[in-house]
């Protein structure tokens, strides 16, 4: 039961910290949310810098250009990036954390060579074409079809919740190649985003303009060579990607959250209330203290999970536990932040006289956390069934 990092982890930390101190300052603040070209340039050039410093693909094997970091180093990596307020992985996310790892696990040598180095260097942006209007929690019910025509698949269908579709070069696309079986009729394709027949429609969320889009695919011709894994084996391929998830997915967010709470505490001390400050409200202080304890214990859960994974090599179901706990906690923290602002929380833009932590927009964006990547309800099903042995949900058909 030892929480201390090893000497070599600490060396990794100090080297990284030193590099980040300079690199983050040099990279500067991000551009306006509405300037997509500038955002792509910002995100991909940061990825390039990480690559040149040897920090790209932190958990990618070295043979594919990654750092090949140990789990502990990966934790340190996220800790330091958060401390340094480094740019977010942003547009590089799907390529670096999802598509790239899938190619590493399941791609042909040709596919790996074509994409992996470019992803790492920030030369390729990927998006994800998984969810559909009728296939969210039940992703395997997807209907976008891919019919073989010579050496191409002809793809027709619709995708939703595709982040950065209009900036992406490639899309990891799940399609239906077989109708005999639900789960064993799915294939995983790499779709170039410059093909004919792809229509992208921005999808405003409750935050207004967003990074999300709907994609309409009409007779899009994708070479068979772009298929990753065998035909109708795509569901398994998708799950392999999930097993790449090493319990560190939420590490960066958890660390940020403790910092946000400190920011909220500071803000409370600056808000005047009834001749004193909002911080003088014991109920508020108590709530913040309670939330801080929760964040601390989620961080401890991450460390325990990582320790167990480092030993066994097998990802446990702790991921569901952490995801469920973290996302709901996240919401409660920003809900408190919004409440703290009172009437000033009616403005999503900064209000004069108050420090701007973007609390209201953060609160709104947390509403998606308990829905995306396996809703809280799905997570509870998973936990009760796979960890506690409860009977599975009855199938309707």
């Amino acid at each position: 039961m030892d929480l201390r990092y090893s000497e070599s982890d600490q060396h990794f930390r100090s080297d990284l910290r030193a590099w980040l101190a300079e690199a983050v300052a040099a990279h500067g603040p991000g551009p306006s949310r509405h300037d997509w070209d500038a955002r792509r340039a910002y995100d991909t050039s940061w990825q390039r810098k990480l690559f040149e410093a040897g920090y790209a693909g932190i958990n990618w094997p070295k043979e594919y250009g990654g750092r090949g970091a140990s789990l502990m180093e990966e934790l340190v990596y996220y800790e330091e990036l958060s401390r340094a307020r480094a740019p977010n992985v942003a547009m590089n996310f799907v390529g670096v954390r999802h598509g790239g790892p899938t190619l590493i696990a399941e791609g042909t040598d040709e596919q790996k060579a074509a994409h992996l180095p470019r992803i790492l260097r920030g030369e390729e942006v990927w998006c994800q074409g998984f969810s559909e209007p009728t296939a969210g929690s039940d992703l395997a019910a997807l209907r976008t079809s891919a019919v073989l025509d010579g050496d191409h698949y002809v793809v027709n269908g619709q995708k939703i919740w595709t982040s950065f579709a209009h900036c992406a070069d490639y899309c990891e696309l799940l399609v239906r190649t077989g109708t005999d079986s639900k789960h064993r009729g799915i294939s995983w394709l790499v779709m170039p985003m410059d093909l004919e027949g792809i229509e992208i429609r921005p999808l405003p969320t409750l935050l207004g303009e967003s990074d999300f889009s709907e994609m309409f695919l009409e007779d899009v011709r994708i070479p068979v060579g772009n298929r990753v894994g065998k035909e109708n084996d795509g569901w398994r391929v998708t799950n392999v990607t999930l097993s790449f998830e090493r319990g560190t997915a939420w590490a960066a967010d958890v660390i940020q959250l403790q910092r946000m709470l400190e920011g909220i505490a500071e803000l409370a001390q600056s808000i005047e209330r009834q001749g004193a400050s909002a911080w003088d409200d014991q109920a508020l202080r108590r709530e913040i203290g309670h939330l801080s304890a929760e964040v601390e214990s989620v961080w401890s859960m991450v460390k325990l999970q990582v320790s167990e994974l480092a030993q066994s090599g097998v990802p446990g179901l702790g991921g569901s536990v952490i995801k469920l706990a973290f996302t709901e906690l996240n919401q409660r923290i920003f809900e408190l932040g919004t409440r703290l602002l009172g009437r000033a929380g009616l403005a999503r833009d900064p209000v004069e006289g108050l420090a701007d932590l973007g609390l209201v927009d953060r609160y709104l964006s947390t509403l998606s956390l308990t829905i995306a990547a396996g809703s809280s309800q799905i997570q509870r099903n998973i936990i009760s069934e796979r960890m506690l042995g409860m009977p599975k949900e009855p199938r309707v058909r």
Partner: protein
């Protein structure tokens, strides 16, 4: 960093678990309610090393750290062990004969609040009362204390006595010694809360799989499944918090000890209470019945909530660390 429980620690925990399953299975717990503390059990606990965990081997103890102690106390509480085990283990290094199980010690933490009714747990079973104050530790013999028993304590396994006054007794430690015992006592109480939260989950899980209604186990209904899932998450958070606090207190952490201990007491206290409350609910009508586990787990959680700082008190302390 290796935050896992080691093999030796797991073996220790398993040893305590086996002992409890054999010596204090649940039906004996129901019987022992409102009965005097079994001296045979106390001797057995002493032989197991429960009271000498923290003493060094040179002192005749087991030389364990807090990491081991929290594992032991979680197991004991999980099985609803009766008696002032926490106070006796805490003070075994300061009061002779406690480690051997020959002297039973109970205690009062007056570092937070000295006003109000003086209610002591396990008074009649104890020989000695230890009082923790901000600047000292006081030792008072039971024979020097007067009071009246509370006829109906909330926890049937934690008899209460109301004392009319506290004589000065003898000082056996200074402020620093007292603060150390408060720290360790808080952590052990948190460990016991963790054990309770685990027991609630275990019992509720088993019940949900066994109990059938509408021709199927009630655990196949999503409403029940989701209650159980929340109980598991709570318990896992509490566990991580208690282990992290113990490791940190043993000098193997990276954060502030006091903050970690407050976090543990708060999270484990909440898990113990909510899980026990959920356990009553999952048991349905049987959760409302005397002879079943849920209410014992719930009532014990109140006892532990009211020693070494409540959830609110610890939340306040943690908030203070965030103020600039």
């Amino acid at each position: 960093m290796d935050f896992r429980v080691t093999e030796d620690q797991a073996a220790l925990r398993e040893g305590i678990r086996s002992f409890c399953e054999g010596r204090i299975p649940f039906d004996t717990i129901v019987e022992s309610a409102e009965r005097p503390l079994d001296p045979g059990l106390w001797t057995d606990l002493a032989e197991l090393g429960v009271f000498s965990l923290r003493e060094t081997e040179a002192e005749g103890g087991l030389g364990f750290g807090l990491a081991e102690a929290v594992l032991v106390f979680a197991e004991l509480a999980r099985h609803l062990v009766p008696g002032p085990v926490l106070w006796s283990a805490l003070t075994a290094g300061l009061v002779p004969e406690v480690a051997e199980g020959k002297r039973v010690v109970t205690g009062l933490d007056q570092t937070r609040e000295a006003a109000g009714p003086i209610l002591v747990e396990h008074f009649e079973a104890s020989d000695t009362l230890i009082v923790l104050e901000s600047e000292s530790i006081r030792r008072i013999e039971r024979s020097d204390l007067a009071g009246r028993p509370i006829e109906t304590p909330l926890d049937p396994l934690t008899p209460l006595h109301q004392l009319s006054a506290l004589p000065p007794g003898k000082s056996i430690g200074d402020g620093e010694a007292s603060r150390r015992l408060v720290r360790e006592g808080t952590l052990l109480a948190a460990a016991m809360q963790l054990g309770l939260s685990e027991a609630s989950l275990e019992h509720a899980t088993r019940y949900a799989l066994e109990r059938e209604q509408f021709d199927r186990p009630i655990g196949s209904f999503q409403a029940i499944k989701h209650i159980l899932a929340d109980m598991l998450v709570r318990k896992e958070q509490a566990k991580a918090a208690v282990y992290a606090a113990a490791a940190t207190a043993d000098g193997r952490g990276v954060s502030d000890v006091e903050r970690m201990i407050s976090t543990a007491k708060l999270m484990a206290g909440e898990a113990a209470h909510k899980n026990a409350r959920n356990c009553v609910q999952v048991y349905g009508g049987m959760g409302y019945v005397w002879e079943m586990p849920p209410h014992f787990l719930l009532k014990r959680s109140f006892v532990l909530e009211n020693v070494f700082g409540t959830m609110d008190e610890h939340a306040d302390r943690i908030a203070e660390t965030l103020a600039s």
